[in-house]
């Protein structure tokens, strides 16, 4: 007979959980991928499909039409990938917490243990913020192990999800260090920044669409925003374009970014999104499939200086965010190499077409491998995705102060708003702040950062009609942009593509299609999600 070990074969190519989590380094390694891989499926295409296409800041003329036309269904691919991804974050965060508690022994310092658990709670809370905002009621899961054989779990009401995630984020803020342990790791201020965001939204959640936001929560948003602004040590970069100029990872303005890494051949730890945004292989690395993506007509009309004319829109803008977000024909980008017949040059965004062309995406597009020190390959980029930067905190402060007023002239609010506004190259705003002004500022500041949709959801909590009005006024169809001269244009004209059916230019957002339906396949395999949601805290 054989000795017993003949039939004991743990994996030869990996370490098993029970042998891991034994040192500080291992515990940190166990939460490191919560900063990237678990978010991959969300970042890949859902980030901009939901965050921007649905919101109307950008569009794709021939692909992703369900999201562009606000017809996201239970079968729309990004609906499924996003849903799955956020729950992957939840599942891995839960497992990290449990495994650290179960397996970490004396070799792990209490500080590291506390911090790692806080990291996981932060990620889980943030994932639920995305879940509740996209789908409404969702099941809160804090322990997947008990659910492996349980199919009865119910969804929880949005109010209780919000309550849960603010609680969680506050706990994370308690346990995270003042300064990040390593570059890109979470600090207390990452959590407090999220708290500012959460409370601002939650002020609307409890309003039940009444139009009036909860003052206590507004005050909390202001409180946390104020703390982050004063105490975090974060600061705005002086130049907006530098936010996206490689290398920009973990700069002074970033409070939390997904930590991607260039990893040839690997899948899931790298940033794949630029592949789908870059307008052509001419500026990419065998990818560059974003030729039919670009700013919407509505988006371009938001920039100061781009003004209505008899034929459409025209003008130029002082707002440096336009060039940093979208490419206008003739725009010159010295940081990106462009292949041209017989050679290469610094990118000059081409002018093409006669009645339709695209203001292609610039933000997060960093060019060819040679532009980033060799650190790029097809669908494989190392630069990070902002999940929150300080600019948002300034605007949260302003909005929290504005609160339920129609306008505010609060000095600090004005000052903070203008920090963001003037950093873009614009003169300071002198009129009082209104919700419209803040929303517009956010749409422009964060366009193509997967933000606009959540701003609209936030608005929808307390003023659904206004959210619909914004969406339904948008033109999301094709148009043509013509520079006054090429190269070196000084201004541009924008004309709607004449042959596009005007009936398709606008969407019809309403309470029936505003939130995402739970993916069809998920409803089929989990009929328990059809049950009415319950309050998580009154189970």
């Amino acid at each position: 007979s054989c000795n017993k070990s003949f039939l004991e074969k743990p994996p030869t190519d990996s370490i098993v959980d029970a042998s891991f989590y034994k040192t500080d380094d291992q515990v940190l390694a166990a939460t490191a991928l919560l900063y990237s891989q678990v978010w991959f499926d969300y970042n890949d295409k859902a980030s901009y499909n939901l965050g921007d296409f649905r919101a109307g800041t950008a569009y794709s003329a021939y692909n992703d039409r369900g999201n562009v036309l606000f017809n996201t269904t239970g079968d729309t691919p990004e609906n499924g990938t996003a849903w799955r991804s956020f729950f992957i974050v939840v599942g891995q965060a839960n497992l990290a917490i449990q495994n650290i508690q179960k397996y970490a022994g004396d070799g792990v310092s209490p500080d590291i243990k506390r911090m790692a658990i806080a990291e996981a709670r932060f990620m889980r809370a943030l994932a639920y913020r995305f879940l509740v905002m996209n789908w409404g009621a969702v099941p809160i899961i804090e322990n997947n192990l008990t659910l492996l054989a349980d199919t009865t779990i119910q969804r929880n009401t949005p109010e209780s999800v919000w309550r849960y995630i603010t609680n969680e984020m506050r706990a994370a803020a308690e346990d995270l260090p003042e300064t990040p342990l390593r570059p890109g790791r979470l600090s207390k201020w990452s959590a407090e920044g999220m708290l500012a965001r959460f409370y601002l939204t939650r002020a609307g959640v409890v309003s039940g669409g009444s139009g009036s936001r909860d003052q206590t929560f507004l005050d909390s948003a202001k409180y946390y925003a104020d703390r982050v602004i004063r105490m975090s040590g974060a600061s705005l970069l002086t130049n907006y374009a530098e936010l996206f100029l490689y290398p920009y990872d973990n700069n002074a303005e970033s409070l939390f970014s997904l930590q991607w890494t260039f990893a040839p051949g690997a899948w899931g730890v790298q940033n794949s999104t630029p592949a789908y945004l870059a307008y052509s292989g001419d500026i990419a690395n065998g990818d560059g499939w974003g030729g039919d993506k670009g700013a919407t007509w509505w988006m371009i009309s938001l920039y100061d200086g781009i003004v209505p004319t008899e034929t459409g829109l025209a003008g130029r803008t002082l707002d440096q965010r336009l060039k940093a977000t979208f490419m206008l024909p003739g725009a010159h980008y010295s940081e990106i190499t462009q292949s041209i017949p017989g050679g290469k040059q610094e990118l000059v965004f081409p002018f093409s077409g006669t009645d339709v062309n695209f203001l292609s995406i610039k933000k997060y597009v960093t060019g060819k491998a040679e532009d980033v020190g060799g650190q790029a390959a097809s669908q494989n980029y190392g630069h990070d995705t902002y999940m929150q930067r300080l600019a948002e905190i300034y605007l949260i402060y302003a909005e929290a102060v504005l609160g339920n007023g129609t306008s505010t002239t609060d000095e600090t609010a004005m000052e903070y708003f203008n920090k963001v506004h003037t950093r873009a190259g614009l003169p300071p705003r002198e009129e009082p702040l209104t919700l419209d002004a803040i929303l517009k500022e956010r749409f422009i500041e964060f366009s193509m950062e997967g933000m606009a949709w959540y701003d609209l959801v936030s608005l929808h909590y307390h003023n659904p009609q206004k959210a619909y009005d914004i969406l339904n006024a948008q033109d999301r169809e094709r148009f043509f942009t013509e520079p006054d001269q090429f190269p070196n244009p000084t201004s541009w004209k924008f004309i709607k593509t004449p042959w596009v059916d005007p009936g398709t230019r606008n969407i019809n957002a309403n309470s029936g299609n505003f939130l995402l339906p739970i993916p069809t396949a998920e409803l089929n395999q989990a009929p328990n999600l059809r049950k009415p949601p319950v309050d998580y805290f009154n189970k």
């Binding site: 200086g305 130029r316 803008t317 002082l318 003037t422 190259g425 003169p427 300071p428």
Partner: protein
């Protein structure tokens, strides 16, 4: 697809659009798609227009038709023939003229480029060899040519007036004038009006922009948001005769005119607002707004604004300009949001016809 052996023959050439199927072609422009219709064409392997070979796509060759795009390259030897070479070596010729556009001239980056300097002219159909002739007969040395841009050195004897560009396929006079001295309505040569004689530069120093046409106006100062800086101008009677230079027709038919001026930003125009009042009876404070950003990088550059746009901007504020034989209220004003570290020079504000009616075609 192969011909069945009969003699290849072209019956006619047409465009593909069935609505125009009955209009037969004896010529066509570069890059136009044509349909060659005939018999036994299946063996076609090459199609030439003059001495340029067209790109033939196998799927668009049948026994009775060839769909082919006239090459966009410019022929050097012009036979006005279309030649089809067949697989068996047979050659078929047919009269067909490739109509190649004469030069199209759109604009000159700086209409006041000094003699000896290189000017950039934009347009199209710049097929070498090219001659650029200035009023007065001088020809410029062509430095570089792209399809739609010529860089040419201004000859010493170039005079004020239209330029002419000539290629093998025709010659075209420009609608714009080099050193355009028509209808100048503000140039401070000499200073008139109410405001800011101190802005007038008569003898530029070493570091200053060169004079392009006598005096020019230069504003060098930090301008705060909403500070009120009149650069030049004044009421009609204060301006004197120069304000009467604005043609009546420009007021009556603004769509036929452009406002042009030369500008030189020594520091980028990147904030605040420059506002023009031309052709008015009295001030309109909020129009026409010539908005930032604008940066010529320290070079003189001609700016062209359709006069109609300017008039329209006054109308939107409820002021409709009318013809006034006594001249017009004139003002260049800097007044707007945002602080601006300003260093900008202007010259030769003029309202000139878009089309030079006088030019000899």
């Amino acid at each position: 697809k192969e011909s069945t052996g009969g003699e290849p023959q072209i019956r006619y050439i047409r465009v593909t659009d069935p609505d125009s199927a009955d209009s037969l072609l004896v010529g066509g422009y570069q890059s136009n798609l044509i349909a060659i219709v005939g018999e036994n064409l299946g063996g076609a392997r090459e199609v030439w227009f003059n001495d340029q070979q067209a790109v033939l796509t196998a799927t668009y060759v049948t026994n009775n038709t060839i769909l082919v795009t006239i090459p966009s390259q410019v022929p050097s030897e012009i036979t006005n023939k279309l030649r089809i070479i067949f697989a068996n070596g047979h050659i078929l010729e047919h009269d067909f003229e490739v109509q190649i556009s004469e030069p199209l001239i759109l604009s000159m980056d700086n209409e006041y480029t000094l003699a000896g300097e290189v000017a950039t002219i934009r347009g199209n159909y710049f097929y070498e060899p090219l001659t650029v002739t200035f009023t007065g007969g001088g020809t410029g040395e062509v430095i570089a040519v792209e399809d739609d841009i010529i860089r040419v050195r201004i000859p010493a004897d170039a005079q004020s007036g239209p330029i002419t560009i000539k290629s093998n396929f025709g010659e075209t006079p420009s609608d714009f004038w080099y050193r355009d001295n028509r209808n100048i309505i503000l140039s401070s040569d000499p200073f008139t009006g109410w405001w800011n004689a101190s802005f007038v530069v008569s003898n530029p120093g070493a570091g200053d922009p060169p004079a392009i046409n006598g005096n020019y106006i230069r504003v060098t100062r930090s301008i705060g948001a909403w500070a009120w800086t009149e650069v030049a101008g004044g009421a009609a009677d204060a301006m004197g005769d120069i304000s009467k230079k604005l043609p009546d027709e420009a007021i009556l038919k603004p769509e036929k005119y452009d406002l042009k001026f030369e500008v030189n930003t020594l520091k980028p125009y990147n904030n605040n607002m420059i506002k023009f009042n031309f052709g008015l009876q009295s001030e309109v404070n909020d129009a026409y707004q010539w908005a930032p950003p604008f940066d010529t990088g320290g070079q003189w550059q001609t700016v062209v604004i359709p006069f109609e746009t300017i008039i329209q901007s006054y109308k939107e504020l409820g002021v409709t300009p009318v013809v006034n034989p006594n001249g017009y209220w004139t003002r260049v004003l800097i007044h707007g949001p945002g602080d601006w570290d300003c260093d900008i020079a202007f010259d030769n504000f003029r309202v000139v016809p878009k089309i030079d009616e006088s030019k000899t075609e």
